[in-house]
Amino acid sequence: KGSNEESAPSVSANSIKITDITQDGETLTFAITSQKSSSSAGVCVFRTYEDFDWLQQSLLSQEDVPGLLGVIFPPLPGKPLPSTSFTQAKALKQFGFLALGDEWKIYCKALELYLQQVAAHTTLSKSKALSSFFSSTESPGKHRGKKGIFKRLSHVMEEMRKEGHKDVDKFFQSERDSCTHLSVLFKVSTEKFLDTVLTKQKLAVACGHFSTSLHLVCNHDNPAAVTFSKICLKLSDIIEAVKVNFEKVSDNDVSSMGLALDLESRYQEAKKEMLFRRTCKLVELEAANRNSERAKPNKKAIMEGVQKATQKEFNLISSVAKKEIEQYHRARVSVLRDFLVSWCEKQLSTAQETSALFSQHLEACRGFVV
């Protein structure tokens, strides 16, 4: 009955790529290619953000998946606002690093990672919604299913009290504590890193102005003036090279370290949400225990029934959660490693290119006859 043991082969996570993006007015459409793990035939589908949102909601509201509440759901990036209706500043505030980069490059990468993460997840990869997402010719988001009924972290006072509720398990208490602490630190680092990237972009623009102004110094009156004009043009080329370097460096920053920090922040939020769901269940369980103890004889049986069911749910959630957390820690380190290595290699390569270019300029200038 609606079991996940379908014979339909699952999508290979590594094969998922977002290959193209088109904009039509306010709507963005993503072209996604993928392969089933059993075949080498590629499939291409076109999806809008609504479809991604539908997918996430479907995953969240799956029935008959035991302990679903204990799953750390891969975080979906927020809804993209088309460039016609927002300013750069607003986009930065909302999306941070995902707002940077030409033509949604970074945002697409984040979406791609999301799909890969879902497809790689032991439980979620089996969902019918996922396979429908990758194969259905129709846009699945058009038929809105029911929304997830999960509690999201909100600022309601009652919710905040629950968040601080003391745990019965040392492992989970320590996870909750470190999660809060680390997520604050990561948020701060992300902001600071974003500041450095934005300043580098400002520097690139300033170099552009400087380089252009040098072109205006143009005079062919006499030999000395001609030489001076030549020197100014030479300097203009050099400053242009400085500008290009800044652009490359900040590009490298955004596409590796920036994306890594953004992903890490959002995944920590997802983990936090899962832990909160479990905590809520704990609160519910403790309430059920109290009710069961205090129940009048005529209600006792019912209350005990509720207590038993809640206990069972809680145990399931906790056991799923524990596995999820362990998987999370492994995956997280691996992802950060890959991004750090990629960032370092990119910056090293850019520095080597730029160094060679500046050295060439230096030799040319030294040989410049005045």
Binding site: S189, T196, A225, I231, R337, A351, S355, F358, L362
Partner: protein
């Protein structure tokens, strides 16, 4: 730090080289002041020795400039402008706090004074001037009085007043020499261009300093991450990352200094050089010559009238006045030709020197850029194995 070391930024003739170092001097328990040791190395016979050092105060430099300006500006020499009292850039953008005791301020001033002296000594006529020789050589120098009006800004005000006065007279100079008309226009254009360039560079310096602050801030946050991270190898890598970023911050600061000391100051110097107003002085000289001619004409007319007036004393006086004014007219013409000749020569020298100055600065700048990239390569190469070691 790259360019704080002694190599002068203005290339001199082989004949004389000047370098400055700064030192604070406490004076009789009253206020301490800054003195500069001026060291000259020369092979010229004008000087008693080949290498010598004297101590000078900022006001001494202003005093020297005011003497040179009063002697040479009006005959068409491009006298190097006096060093600025304030270090606020021409765009009035405060690049950092103006702290008079800060190391940054001292270095900016020292560098400005050094460039000023080098430019002065570079000028073949000025090098031989007795005031310059005295300034470089003699142990004691009479204190310059009331330096308020003598500061760069003060001189500028004086010159501008003169220029305004000239403009108010609405001199319609019959420019027989197209060269001057063109050159004046070029200098005006150059002034506009240089100011624009200067503004660009100040913006660059400002952003680089901002980048340095942001990088340091990020480095701190990365260090905190490293401390809180449970996974050992990841924690280590994050701490290493923090160190790399700190080093990069240092590079940004050095590069900002290079931007500033090389370009910003050079461009500023040249703008001030151009606004010294030689062309205005030539106009004034021409105007004086024309006025003398007008006066001579009047005297001749007066004499002609007196021919029929039978006043022999007055006639004699009129004839003498004519002689006087004829001489003045001749002098006026000579002065005008002289200043025109001087300006042509000075402008030629200026244009040649400009190319040399810029070339020196560009090469130094490129050297600093190459150095920065090579340091970055070192840092990233060192970090890569740390990142790869995360298991």
């Amino acid at each position: 730090m790259l360019i704080k070391n002694c190599e002068p930024l203005v290339r001199a003739h082989i004949e004389a080289q000047v370098s400055l170092s700064a030192q604070t001097i406490a004076c009789d328990g009253m206020n301490a002041y800054m003195a500069y040791k001026v060291t000259t190395k020369t092979s010229l016979n004008l000087f008693n020795r080949n290498e010598f050092t004297v101590k000078r105060r900022f006001s001494d430099f202003l005093g020297l400039h005011s003497k040179l300006a009063s002697k040479y500006l009006h005959i068409g020499y491009i006298v190097p402008p006096a060093p600025e009292k304030s270090i606020v850039g021409m765009t009035k953008v405060k690049v950092g706090k103006e702290d008079l005791s800060s190391a940054e301020f001292v270095e900016k001033r020292r560098s400005a004074l050094e460039r000023y002296l080098m430019r002065t000594v570079n000028h073949p006529a000025l090098l031989k001037d007795p005031d310059v020789i005295q300034f470089l050589e003699s142990t004691e120098l009479p204190r310059a009085v009331s330096t308020q009006a003598l500061s760069g800004a003060g001189i500028l005000r004086m010159v501008n007043k003169a220029a305004e006065a000239v403009n108010k007279m609405t001199i319609k100079m019959n420019e027989s020499d197209a060269w001057f008309e063109e050159k004046q226009q070029q200098f005006e254009n150059l002034d506009v261009q240089l100011r624009k360039l200067h503004a660009s560079v100040e913006s660059l310096v400002c952003h680089r300093k901002e980048l340095s602050v942001n990088t340091a801030s990020f480095a701190k946050s990365a260090a905190m991450l490293g401390n809180s991270e449970d996974h050992t190898a990841l924690s280590r890598a994050l701490s290493q990352l923090a160190e790399v970023e700190e080093k990069i911050d240092q590079l940004h600061q050095e590069q900002a200094y290079a931007d500033f000391y090389l370009f910003s100051e050079l461009l500023g110097d040249y703008v001030r050089l151009i606004t010294a107003g030689v062309f205005d002085h030539r106009m004034k000289t021409w105007s004086k010559w024309q006025d003398a001619q007008v006066m001579l004409q009047r005297k001749r007319e007066a004499e002609a009238k007196l021919q029929y007036a039978n006043k022999p004393d007055k006639l004699q006086q009129a004839k003498e006045e004519i002689k006087e004014w004829e001489a003045k007219v001749q002098q006026g013409e000579r002065d005008f030709e002289q200043i025109s000749k001087n300006i042509r020569r000075e402008v030629g020298r200026f244009e040649k020197q400009r190319v040399k100055d810029f070339k020196v600065v560009i090469i130094k700048y490129l050297e600093s850029l190459v150095h920065t990239q090579q340091q970055l390569i070192k840092y990233w190469e060192a970090f890569l194995p740390e990142a790869k070691a995360i298991a």
